[in-house]
Symmetry: C2
Subunit: 129 residues, 2 copies
Amino acid sequence: MVEAPRNTRQRRAVVAILEDLDGFASAQEIHDILKKRGESVGLSTVYRSLQVLAEAAEVDALRNDDGEVLYRQCSAGHHHHLVCRSCGRTVEVEGPTVERWADKIAAENGFRDVAHTLEIFGTCASCPS
Amino acid sequence: MVEAPRNTRQRRAVVAILEDLDGFASAQEIHDILKKRGESVGLSTVYRSLQVLAEAAEVDALRNDDGEVLYRQCSAGHHHHLVCRSCGRTVEVEGPTVERWADKIAAENGFRDVAHTLEIFGTCASCPS
DNA sequence: CATGACGCTGAGAATCATTGTCAAATCCGC
DNA sequence: GCGGATTTGACAATGATTCTCAGCGTCATG
Ligand SMILES: [Zn+2]
Ligand SMILES: [Zn+2]
Ligand SMILES: [Zn+2]
Ligand SMILES: [Zn+2]
């Protein structure tokens, strides 16, 4: 059976940051925030914690245009995101028809083990041009 | 005005590979293929050529799960892809309703300069499990 | 509460795709 | 053919992420 992850100060600190943040943030940004708060956590540990959380589906991960991975604590269940390129502010969105469409396309072409990525990027109303 | 790009052996070679390939491939894969064909082109040059082609919208680019950028010569116009994770084989797909849905979602939330990414990944019929 | 086993941490090194550097080679209009 | 701007390529540099591994912390157990 799978070992339960241990309850460490560092992991709690990372989770706390994610709970405070509204939008997506990179591992390095989270590391910086922790440092500012004085709850310093090693960068490697931040990366590892986020990986674990992502595998456990407790956080969502996506890549921005620069290829950096961003993380966010999201609500459960499959959904997509409308993300501000500038500040990371995020709106969770659902598109039931898209889900069906994607599965249908894949099936029609004989693909299996299908998954899809769908993100909408833009500049939010409170960010300058 | 913009200078026209020069017609060099290297650029022609990269374009030729893209024309032969059916699916998406990374810069390094294309570099390897060129080496095998004896038409050696420097790796930096392959990267630069692909960048130029991508900016000119002559090729599409996307990232796989590992964060590598893959390129493919696609048909003109906005479309998305159904990509085999294993061999890169690709089917271009269109989803008019998705386009409208994405724009609507963004507008409703006051986002501007909107773009979206949508890719479907799976294993194609001719690839082993 | 003490103990031990084993997961967790973190500083630094290593990885690896991608980009930058710059002298030499190549285009191309004239 | 010339000459100047562009392009090339070997190599170094970057930068996000992962790996290493000795020391620490957690936690089930008695
Ligand atoms: Zn914003
Ligand atoms: Zn979906
Ligand atoms: Zn395949
Ligand atoms: Zn689209």
